[in-house]
Amino acid sequence: MAERTDQHEVSAVGDTTLLRLVWVSRAAEPLSAQELDRIEERSRFHNEAAGITGLLIVQAPHFYGIMEGPGARLLARMEVIITDPRHCRVHILREEPATTRRFVNWRLFRLPGVASPRPDGPSSIDFIIDLSHRLG
């Protein structure tokens, strides 16, 4: 990859800069429990190796993620998620330098889906949007 023109230019962010990302996506296809187990296991492995902490909430078909860690490694992980065909409509709600970590670990959590959400009721996406604003 000779040229990189995307906004997440890895070389522009020093690896020691602590960054925090809040993002949402949708599963491109329904994921089985086994596929989620696999995602959990691999993500935990890669995130621990990269010094990335935070959490990923899966509420089919949505993913809500918070990740914090060394800038270049974090952006590299985010790039993996963005280019992963299992995710679609990946939106980064917040990307900012962080002075300190909020989390000491990384975990994946599964929440039940909702059969018939009330149009006027709170939805789980409000949770991550609220959190994104609060962390700012």
């Binding site: 429990a33 970590r101 959590f109 039940p112 059969a115 709170p122």
Partner: protein
Amino acid sequence: MPGVCDRDTVLVEFRFKSVLCNADAAAVTRMVRQCWRANLRSGVTGEMLIDGREVSQVIEGEMDVILPMVARILSDPRHTEIETVTLGALDARRYCGWRVHGLPDVPACAADVATGAIAHFPVDDVVATRMAGRRMA
């Protein structure tokens, strides 16, 4: 993956540990009082174990209530070094109220005593086991 449920009946629990940035008795008492009020108002049950600066907490309730509470906790500057343990569906509540164990010994005001907002419950082996997996010093 948990089954699809009707929103009104989805119970979830959130378990986490954290380190308080300010563990002086007055600050902790203030936090406990706020938790108690918020939990009573919103039907949240569970317990909190305070051990010096370290806190282990379980909250359970309806998903629509717990998720905004999780957002507030995760962004609350009083909590640092947050270790998330569980966030997931429950078949039934495990607690019938809200208790705090290990509260620093401070005089509670009369209103607190009357309402039970500030009550001193001992940290016994049963509690310590229930909140197992506390971070070791």
